[in-house]
């Protein structure tokens, strides 16, 4: 037996959540060839079909691209700090892909390691994630190479399976998920199935061994030659979480703001003295792979990658984890 819901009922449910003052976000078509995860203004905005993988990720709803940590007022010689008064709204992320949801338990480690990040944790506690299992994949997808798949349940509170004809099987996986769908579904004997995901494209253990043992390998220099040095890979990645803290001056309302940062920028590691321990692009590329496949696993026991393929898909020239890892694994 399974629980099912029609697309109409799902939309009505989303409308109900919105009307109840909850924040709801999901895939929205912005332009004919651009679908992004966005806050829904109305349930009609929600896109449930005909999209592959938005170029952004749901991390921005828990770890926003710019977040005010606190404000300050300058009075003569003294500075007065003003606590951020942001109130957390209950938030529902709907139709996220499994590779997005799986990133959240991974991010939980780093935001609760030596320091408990209250901004992240507050949002995380107020968030319910409803994923939509994948019916298709493209050439950049590689979830199966990092131990996930098109219907991985990791990080999801509930999962939807497209049964066709505007019907979805709902599998509630946590109490948060059950709370949203309880009494809203119908019993059925139809069970959602998804096709197999992308074929396994590389062996992550091989990558880990290579990156730890070949730090000075000429491979890095050769591979990074075409890297343009932008931050698209990191910013579209569901797991990349590096940030910078900047003081936005009077023009931006006197605030200390946390913004995303990327290890691909030359300024990421530059010291006040001018010395830069990662002076060239290959060192920055290597760092990204090293962090994902060796440093993070060593510290937290899992790979910092969910195989969504966004880095490769969005890179202006097609570089990314997939291109590096397949080259390492297959030579």
């Amino acid at each position: 037996m399974s629980e099912i819901i029609s697309q109409n009922a799902l939309r009505m449910l989303a409308a109900e959540w919105l009307a109840g003052g909850k924040a709801v976000a999901g895939p929205v078509r912005i332009k004919p060839d651009l679908v992004l995860y966005r806050a829904l203004r109305s349930a009609d905005d929600l896109l449930l079909e005909e999209f592959q993988r938005p170029p952004n990720s749901i991390k921005e709803f828990l770890f926003p691209k710019a977040e005010k940590l606190y404000g300050y007022r300058v009075r003569g010689n003294s500075i007065e700090l003003v606590e951020s008064d942001a109130q957390e709204r209950v938030q529902i992320l709907i139709a996220a892909r499994p590779c997005d949801a799986a990133a959240l338990p991974i991010l939980d480690h780093v935001f609760n390691w030596d320091f408990k990040d209250e901004f992240y944790n507050r949002r995380r506690a107020a968030t319910t994630v409803i994923t939509l299992a994948c019916n298709a994949h493209d050439e950049s997808c590689f979830c199966t190479s990092v131990g996930l798949g098109p219907a991985s349940e990791r990080g999801s509170d509930a999962m939807l399976f497209d049964l066709g004809a505007g019907r979805y099987e709902v599998r509630c996986l946590t109490d948060k998920g059950r709370a949203l769908f309880s009494g809203k579904t119908e019993k059925s004997d139809q069970v959602g199935n998804v096709p197999a995901g992308p074929e396994k494209k590389f062996d992550s253990e091989t990558i880990r061994t290579f990156v730890t043992e070949h730090f000075e390998d000429p491979f890095w220099k050769e591979h990074a030659l075409t890297c343009m040095g932008c931050g698209t890979c990191a910013f579209s990645c569901p797991t990349c979480h590096c940030f910078d803290i900047v003081d936005a001056g009077p023009a931006a309302g006197n605030a200390r703001v946390r913004t995303w940062d990327s290890c691909q920028f030359a300024t990421f590691t530059v010291h006040a003295s001018g010395h830069n321990p990662r002076p060239a692009q290959h060192a920055r590329q290597r760092q990204r792979i090293l962090h994902k496949f060796a440093i993070y696993p060593e510290k937290f026991g899992e790979i910092l990658c969910t195989g969504c393929g966004n880095c490769t898909r969005n890179c202006p020239i097609g570089l990314g984890v997939l291109s590096v890892a397949t080259e390492i694994d297959h030579g």
Binding site: N56, L225, A252
Partner: protein, 432 residues
């Protein structure tokens, strides 16, 4: 009392030290009365007035900005005001495209003897701004009409005939040592080929999107020795600008120009530059643009058909998606500064956060630094992961340079750069 009754406009005046500042001073010493709403910022010369200052004034709450300097012919430094005039002509067009309220931006020539003109100008601007009210529309979201998105016409992979010829040519170049490295297109993106036997990795097909001249600026590539670079005729124009700006010596680069059949990018629909003009060697046959199946929508015209407030709302809605990944900058062959203005943090010039202000300030700086330099390769729009049609800003400045100075970047290697040169007869109709 109501808001409007208590509204006192804040006006920032950037004035030159030698004429307008003395003119304002004269107004004071001759006891000419004018409204106290103007805050004067004295700079050495109008030629020194950074366009970012105008934007910054609005950001910190100015309701109007006045820029004023010596009359043409009177510049203390001979030509600073001629340079300024040229820059204002272009900058004003960019601000217009972005939907700034041009009624709040004023330019004047006021000499040291014109205390009375200063009095009149300040009085009039203050009154006019008082009527306009506070500048609340700055970076404001709101309703706007849709601008048609750029149309890509990407088809299935199609190799072009010159691919074999290209590989042969590059193999020979590398084998003979004529070049050390070939920057070309490979199956998965750009490739850097250094060995003759690897020349087969090169491809030439309808997926050769990037402008490879951007690699010529990279330290890592320069370190490899003399390069050959594969260029489409549209990208080839970048080399003209880079050479003009002393960023490369043409003789140190072997340019392989490809007769182009189009790669299905928006620019290809109207592209006339299908034949290489400056290359050391031209391969392949150009194929003219196919007549588009439906007339390509004029995105720029649609944008400019809106009211300024709507245009600003359009950009606010576009920039809201910006994550400041700087892909637009990194893929641009003209963005070669060692340290970008947005990375300067002592003091911070542009808010580094992807906030409304930070995003507007960044895109204004990016677009204007490319004024008269952008060759329209469209890589900024293609690279943007948030789908922001950045090329529209460059198109605005391209049209402005053409309209006002008959200039097109990357076409005539002998032509002086638009910014950095001037003409006594430059015409405008907004400086009083």
């Amino acid at each position: 009392m109501s808001e409007t009754a208590t509204f006192e406009p804040k006006i920032v005046a950037y004035v030159c030290n030698w004429c307008t500042y003395l003119g304002a001073d004269l107004a004071g010493t001759t006891r000419l009365e004018y409204p106290p709403n103007v805050r004067i910022v004295r700079l050495p010369c109008t030629g020194r007035i950074d366009f970012n200052l105008i934007v910054k004034a609005f950001e910190i709450g100015a309701d109007a900005v006045l820029v004023s300097g010596c009359h043409p012919g009177d510049c203390h430094y001979t030509a600073g005001n001629y340079h300024a005039r040229r820059r204002w002509i272009l900058f004003r067009e960019l601000l217009d495209t972005m939907g700034f309220d041009l009624r709040r931006i004023h330019f004047t020539w006021i000499s040291a003897a014109e205390g009375r003109k200063w009095q009149q100008v300040v009085t009039e601007i203050t009154e006019q701004t008082r009527k306009l009210g506070p500048y609340t529309d700055l970076y404001a979201a709101g309703a706007f009409k849709d601008v048609p998105p750029p149309v890509s016409n990407r088809n299935g992979l199609k190799s072009f005939a010159a691919e074999t010829e290209l590989r042969e040519h590059c193999r020979k170049l590398l084998a003979e040592g004529a070049v050390k490295v070939v920057i070309g297109y490979g199956a998965g993106g750009p490739v850097v080929v250094t060995k003759p036997e690897d020349a087969d990795r090169l491809v030439w097909n309808n997926r050769c999107y990037p402008n490879l001249t951007a690699y010529l600026k990279r330290k890592e590539i320069k370190a490899l020795g003399k390069p050959a670079v594969v260029v489409k005729p549209c990208d080839e124009k970048s080399l003209v600008v880079l050479e003009k700006e002393s960023q490369l010596e043409r003789k140190d680069i072997h340019v392989i120009g490809m007769g182009c059949e189009g790669v299905g990018e928006p620019k290809c629909a109207w592209c006339q530059a299908r034949t290489p003009r400056f290359a050391d060697v031209s391969l392949g046959q150009p194929v003219g643009p196919e007549p588009p199946s439906s007339p390509s929508p004029n995105r720029f015209a649609a944008l400019m058909a809106m009211s300024p407030a709507e245009r600003m709302a359009f950009w606010a809605s576009e920039f809201e998606r910006c994550v400041k990944c700087y892909a637009c900058r990194q893929v641009c062959p003209m963005c070669y500064c060692e340290r970008c203005i947005v990375e300067r943090n002592r003091p911070i010039e542009i808010d580094p956060a992807p906030s409304a202000k930070g995003n507007f300030a960044w895109q204004i700086a990016r677009a204007f630094h490319l004024a008269g330099r952008c060759v329209g390769c469209g890589e900024c729009s293609r690279a943007c992961p948030a789908g922001i049609d950045l090329a529209l800003l460059n198109i605005s400045l391209h049209i402005a340079a053409q309209k006002n100075f008959g200039f097109e970047a990357g076409v005539d290697p002998k032509a002086d750069a638009v910014i950095g040169s001037y003409a006594l007869q430059d015409k405008e109709d907004f400086i009083r």
